[in-house]
Each structure stands twice: as structure tokens, then as C-alpha cells.
């Protein structure tokens, strides 16, 4: 899915017309929101935990340069290598360089949204490296040549019949079965072999601790542990905002993350990696490479309001609660991060001129803000980005892209009319006369297709007030 072909309106129409998709989504989202609710049933405890999470993330962002340097220093002391990448292209080349250093032709991958952001699989394929997704959801969509539609449950848009067909068609000698247990067994068998043979493993990072140089990875399947433990080389990619100050920051964030993401008290595995295999240890990778990716994050940091975007811990719960996401699904958004978090993150990363349409996909119902475990005021940021779309003096790349000559002229006229008493009186008189023909002009025609045409009253509020004998200023 490339930005140049991005037609949000068309995507939305297509998604809404797909009944199967809508039913898959509505079932899944209902179940996920219910599970989250059960975990955070104690409102006071949840609020206290959120306040902690919010403060931890804000503190970390405000100390980002120091924390990153400390993380780097600690990781190197622990025996890891640390790489910095300004762009996704640079990050891809670093990964490729490491693979080439080891003459590796195969990569086994755990789930990582940053690697999606890098379009790593496509890049590696172009350079002759097989990159295999091992998270079950990611494995399914990779077989189908798709991208994730949700940041936590990547194949949420598919039902078991669709997955059964994919396995039957794409994995050699696989009978068609809709039994979920059997589908899992097929994946287990196929991927076990790949872990066994894996030359290099790649993972994301849920948080990195500056204090100790520890990478925390959270998962249920065990594929993440396989990728980071079995192959002789482990590459971890992370957005540079994922650093936290202290080890003691991990437990509250972990609780918020697992509770919000999947309604779990804790995931099956919390994997805390602080270094490669020591000389006398029998397993674990011999090399660990940490890649810190900027890709626009340093720019987002410079605006105090928009900076809050980077507090995100990628729990995905704002997607589950969004009335727009739950109807159109992740693919319609056309970029890597869908739903409310995507609406604020994507335009800032890609530029409003490319992705400025996405923040319009919100009803501003505030559900995302209410559930966000780190209290990101998502609707405020959406409003800000919508405003920036029209603002020639904005700060987000691509700002002002929606500003048109006609609109600018209309607003100028509006300001003029409101500043001059005489003009104002004249326009107020003319409005009821002229308004019936207005809806047949330009954008108003489209606007009134789904809405009732406004009718101007014959008398203004001021006149009516005066008629009632009330003194009007």
C-alpha cells in the first residue's frame, strides 16, 4: 500500500461494503473491550495506575537525550551493539549489513510495528533475504501478502474459514480444516522448523530500560523468545521514544499494557534481555544489536502538545474502542498505524499533505482518550492536526494543504462582515432571501446531500430580543 495510491474515501466505501469484514470486526472488538473492562473494573485503581503511567512516560520523553545516551552506554557495557537510524531506509540498511556480516539468508521475525514502519520484509526480499513472520497473526497475513490491520491482533480482520483456505492453499500438503486447534498445530509444525534453522532473529521492543540496559519484550506465544534466543544473532528494532528511566518503571507500564491490549493481568512471557550469551552460558544469541529509529520522532518531540503522541505504549486499545476503526478496520487507513493512534501519529510522520485525510476519520467521541492507559488526549491532537491542515503558519510538515483560495476568501469575507455593523445588518437581511439557492452551489451541494439544509430566520436574535422588550446591548 503506497501513499501515492492512498484514497481514503474509496477505502472506506470498500470496507463498509464488505459485510464479512464488518462482522469479523464487530465480533472481535466487542470481545476485546469486554475483557479489558473486566481487568480494569476497579475505577480508582485504574485511575491511579494511569496517573503513574502518564507520569513515567512524560518524564521519560522530557529526559530523552540523557536516557538514550544512558541506554546506549549500559547496553554496550552489557555486550550489545547499538545503532542509530534517522530514517527507515537507514534502519533497513543496518539490518541488511548485520545479515551480510553473518552471510545469513534467512531471518525469523517476532512481531514488531517498527519493522512494519520500515517495510523491512519488502526491503529484505528485494535484497535476497527471506524474512519470515513467526507471530501466528503475522504469519497468516504474510502468507496472504497483506499488512497488519491491528497493532496487537494483526489478522483480526479474518475469520477461521479465510485462514483455513489460506493455510490449505499456501502451505504445502495442508488439508483444509477450520478447527482452530488444528490450524495452530499446522503453524507450530511449520514454524518450529524455521526457528530451528533461523540464522538471525529480529524482534521489536516494548520498552527499554536506561538504568540497566534491558530490553523488555512482552508476548504470549513464545515465538518472540524463540527468535531472540535460538538464532546466534538477535536484532532488536525500536522507536527511540520507547526508553524508560528505571527498572521500577516497568511493572506499572507492563500492567497497563497487558491489561489494555488483551485484557490480561500479565502475558505468558515477559522477556527481559540484558545481554548476549556469556562465555560459559549454553544458549542465547552471541550477538545482540539494538537499532534506535528516529523516523520523524525527534520532530514530533519539539511541539509540547503534539509530543504527547510519543507517550503511546502501542496497546491498541484505542482502536478497539473507536467507532470508526471498528467499522472500517485497519487496512482502510492505508498506512501502518490505524485507528486513533494512527490518526495522530501517521500525519506527523508522513506529513499532512500525504496523510492529512486520516484525522478526519474520528467522531471526536472521546472514547479513545477515556481508555488510553497513558492518558494521551487523542481528540485534542486530532483537532490540532485538522486545524493544521488549513493553517499556512502551522508546524507539522504538510500543514495548510487543505487551504483553498475560495475558502480563504469566504473566511476573509466572514471576518469583514462581522467587523462592520452596516455590512452585518445587510447580510442578516439578505440571508433568508438568498439561502434557498445556496445549497446548489459548490461544496454546499455535497454537504446537503446527507444533511438538512439550514434555513435562515426572517428575524435576527437581536430583533426578537428587542421585540420582547428586553434591553439589547
Amino acid at each position: 500500500m503506497t501513499e501515492t495510491q492512498f484514497d481514503f474515501q474509496a477505502n472506506i466505501r470498500k470496507a463498509l461494503a464488505n459485510r464479512q469484514l464488518r462482522s469479523n470486526l464487530s465480533f472481535a472488538m466487542g470481545s476485546m473491550t469486554a475483557k479489558r473492562k473486566a481487568i480494569f473494573s476497579d475505577a480508582a485503581a485504574f485511575e491511579a495506575l494511569r496517573a503513574q503511567g502518564n507520569a513515567i512516560r512524560r518524564r521519560a520523553l522530557l529526559q530523552l537525550p540523557e536516557l538514550l545516551e544512558r541506554l546506549e552506554k549500559k547496553c554496550i557495557e552489557n555486550g550489545m551493539s547499538v545503532h542509530w537510524a534517522e530514517t527507515t531506509d537507514e534502519a533497513n540498511r543496518i539490518v541488511l549489513g548485520i545479515l551480510r556480516d553473518h552471510h545469513a539468508r534467512r531471518l525469523v521475525k517476532g512481531k514488531s510495528m517498527v519493522s512494519e514502519e520500515m517495510h523491512l520484509n519488502r526491503f529484505l526480499a528485494d535484497h535476497g533475504v527471506e524474512s519470515l513472520e513467526t507471530d501466528l497473526g503475522e504469519f497468516i497475513i504474510q502468507l496472504d501478502g497483506e499488512t497488519p490491520s491491528h497493532i496487537i491482533v494483526p489478522a483480526i480482520h479474518k475469520n477461521k474459514q479465510e485462514i483455513a483456505r489460506t493455510f490449505h492453499e499456501k502451505i504445502p500438503n495442508t488439508p483444509y480444516t477450520e478447527a482452530v486447534e488444528e490450524l495452530n498445530a499446522i503453524a507450530r509444525k511449520t514454524l518450529r522448523r524455521k526457528f530451528y534453522e533461523g540464522e538471525v532473529g529480529l524482534s521489536g521492543v516494548n520498552m527499554a530500560v536506561a538504568e540497566t540496559g534491558t530490553l523488555c519484550l512482552v508476548e504470549n506465544e513464545g515465538n518472540g523468545r524463540m527468535c531472540t534466543t535460538v538464532p546466534p544473532v538477535h536484532i532488536a528494532v525500536m522507536g527511540l521514544e520507547k526508553v524508560v528511566e528505571k527498572l521500577s518503571d516497568v511493572p506499572p507500564l507492563l500492567r497497563l499494557l497487558t491489561g489494555s491490549a488483551t485484557g490480561q493481568l500479565i502475558t505468558t512471557y515477559v522477556n527481559m534481555i540484558s545481554g548476549p550469551r556469556k562465555p560459559d552460558e549454553k544458549d542465547g544469541p552471541r550477538e545482540i544489536h539494538l537499532i534506535l529509529l528516529d523516523n520523524g520522532r525527534s520532530r514530533i518531540l519539539s511541539d509540547e502538545q503534539l509530543r504527547q503522541t510519543l507517550q503511546c505504549i502501542r496497546c491498541g486499545t484505542c482502536l478497539n474502542h473507536c467507532p470508526v476503526y471498528t467499522r472500517i478496520g485497519g487496512h482502510a487507513y492505508g498506512f501502518i498505524y490505524p485507528g486513533p493512534i494512527g490518526e495522530i501519529l501517521t500525519p506527523q510522520m508522513e506529513g499532512l499533505d500525504k496523510a492529512g485525510g486520516i484525522p478526519t476519520a474520528s467522531t471526536l467521541c472521546n472514547a479513545c482518550e477515556e481508555v488510553c492507559p497513558v492518558k494521551i488526549p487523542i481528540p485534542d491532537l486530532i483537532r490540532r492536526l485538522r486545524n493544521e491542515s488549513y493553517d499556512p503558519n502551522g508546524s507539522v510538515p504538510g500543514h495548510g494543504f487543505k487551504r483553498t483560495f475560495a475558502e480563504a476568501a469566504v473566511w476573509k469575507a466572514w471576518a469583514l462582515v462581522n467587523r462592520h455593523r452596516g455590512l452585518n445588518a445587510l447580510v442578516t437581511k439578505m440571508a433568508p432571501v438568498l439561502s434557498p439557492i445556496l445549497p446548489r452551489l459548490g461544496p454546499l451541494e455535497a454537504w446537503t446531500r446527507g444533511r438538512i439544509r439550514p434555513r435562515f430566520s426572517q428575524k435576527s436574535l437581536h430583533e426578537r430580543v428587542r421585540e420582547k422588550g428586553i434591553k439589547d446591548a
Binding site: A28, M32, A48, L49, Q52, A55, R58, Q63, L64, P65, L68, N78, H83, W84, E86, E90, T134, L136, G137, V153, P154, I163, V180, L183, N184, R188, L191, T212, N220, E221, G222, N223, M226, T229, V230, L240, K246, L247, S248, V250, P251, L265, I266, T268, Y269, V270, N271, S274, G275, K278, D280, E281, K282, D283, G284, D294, S298, R299, L301, S302
Partner: protein, 224 residues
């Protein structure tokens, strides 16, 4: 090349933040009443059982109910063929001593005593692996594992059944308490793990399925 990006990124984020930064303080977590030893055992057991772990609480002192006897019953009932263990560790040695009696039907004990490069084939064919734990976490229901040179990381991941032995005196109320009491910040192992149940996924229609990549079963022996 990496140096240049590093410097540019650090310069950008430093100037993005400026110098005047008011760091918010992190509020303290809500206090909960402390749990007794029995309550911690009970809570850990309930939470882990809810996540499909099989939990056995066994007295460790009583000669008639040595935990290794219980272990033997469990492994025989499950029909395990080979079990990976860690020689030179208290748990590994206790298992080896108990197995020396030579009861019928017990799985063959296999030591993980070679680097993974030469041990991989054996490792990937194991039915079960038995490990010690560093502790347990009552409020979420999880075990703490610190693999080391004697007890490698993959013992708790690759075999189909993972059996973990936990000393009831080492159950903490929360992850935070465990970190604090054991001063984790002073020295982390190469790999520390929390494990709360068998491997699972809900990626297909959110239906929970177990053992997708890691162990299909997690058996916990809590020694009181």
C-alpha cells in the same frame, strides 16, 4: 556513518526539548493490605490455574511426601518419555537422586550440558524440561526465571511440557516488590523471564489455543 546519525538525532531531540523542563513526579501506587504466606500461595495458584497452568502445592519437609515423589506421579501420568534437567543445580540434583532409585515408567533424564549449537537436535525432541525458579508473583500469577550457565534459557521454552519448581518462601506480592527486595537494578542476568502459563495465542477469531510455539503445558510445583 552511524556516528553521524547518532549525533544528529541527539542534537535534534536536545534542541526539541530546550533546557527548561519540569519533570513530573511519578505518583505512588495505591496501597493494598499485605498478604500472608498462605494468601500469597493461594493467590498465585488461583491466578496461574486460571491461565491454564497446572499447580501442585507440595510440602517439602515431610519425608513421606517428598516433592520428587509427587513429580514422579505427574510425569508417569503424563507418559513423558525424556525430560531435560540441569545437573549441578539443587532441583536438578534432587531429581537425579530421586531417579536413581530406578522406578519403572519414569522419563529418561537428559542433561542440557552442551552448547545449543551441538545440542539443538536433542533439545527440539524433548518431551519435558524441569527448571527451578527465582520466585513467584502473587498479584498477577507468574514465575520468575533467571536462566544461567547451569540452567539454560531454552529449557523452559522448547520442550512440550515445562515443569517449574517454586519455593513458597519466595512468593512476592507484586512484580515491583520482587524487583525491590531482590535489588534487580543492581545486576540483571543476561535474560530474566516472567512466565505465567503455557504458550498461547488468540490470533484466530480470538479463540484461545495453547502451545502454539512454546510449551503446551506448564506444571508448577510449589514447595511449602
Amino acid at each position: 556513518m552511524p556516528e553521524k546519525s547518532r549525533e544528529r538525532i541527539l542534537r535534534r531531540i536536545s534542541s526539541a526539548l530546550g533546557d527548561r523542563r519540569n519533570l513530573p513526579s511519578v505518583p505512588a501506587p495505591l496501597q493494598t493490605p499485605p498478604l500472608s504466606r498462605e494468601e500469597k500461595i493461594e493467590q498465585l495458584k488461583t491466578r496461574m490455574t486460571a491461565m491454564r497452568s497446572e499447580v501442585h502445592v507440595v510440602p517439602k519437609g515431610d519425608r513421606d511426601a517428598l516433592w520428587t515423589d509427587r513429580l514422579k506421579t505427574i510425569v508417569v501420568e503424563k507418559g513423558l518419555k525424556q525430560m531435560l534437567y540441569a545437573p549441578g543445580t539443587p532441583v536438578g540434583d534432587a531429581v537425579a537422586a530421586a531417579w536413581a532409585a530406578g522406578d519403572a515408567g519414569l522419563p529418561v533424564l537428559e542433561p542440557y550440558d552442551a552448547p545449543v549449537e551441538t545440542f539443538k537436535e536433542a533439545l527440539f525432541s524433548m518431551d519435558a524440561g524441569i527448571t527451578a525458579t527465582m520466585g513467584g508473583i502473587a498479584d498477577t500469577g507468574a514465575l520468575i526465571l533467571w536462566p544461567d550457565e547451569n540452567e539454560p534459557r531454552l529449557m523452559s521454552l522448547v520442550p512440550e511440557v515445562h515443569i517449574a519448581v517454586l519455593d513458597a518462601d519466595r512468593i512476592y506480592e507484586s512484580f515491583s516488590e520482587a524487583m525491590e527486595k531482590c535489588v534487580w537494578a543492581d545486576g540483571m542476568p543476561t535474560n530474566a523471564l516472567l512466565i505465567s502459563g503455557p504458550s498461547k495465542t488468540a490470533d484466530i477469531e480470538l479463540v484461545l489455543a495453547f502451545g502454539v510455539h512454546g510449551p503446551k503445558e506448564l506444571v508448577v510445583l510449589i514447595l511449602t
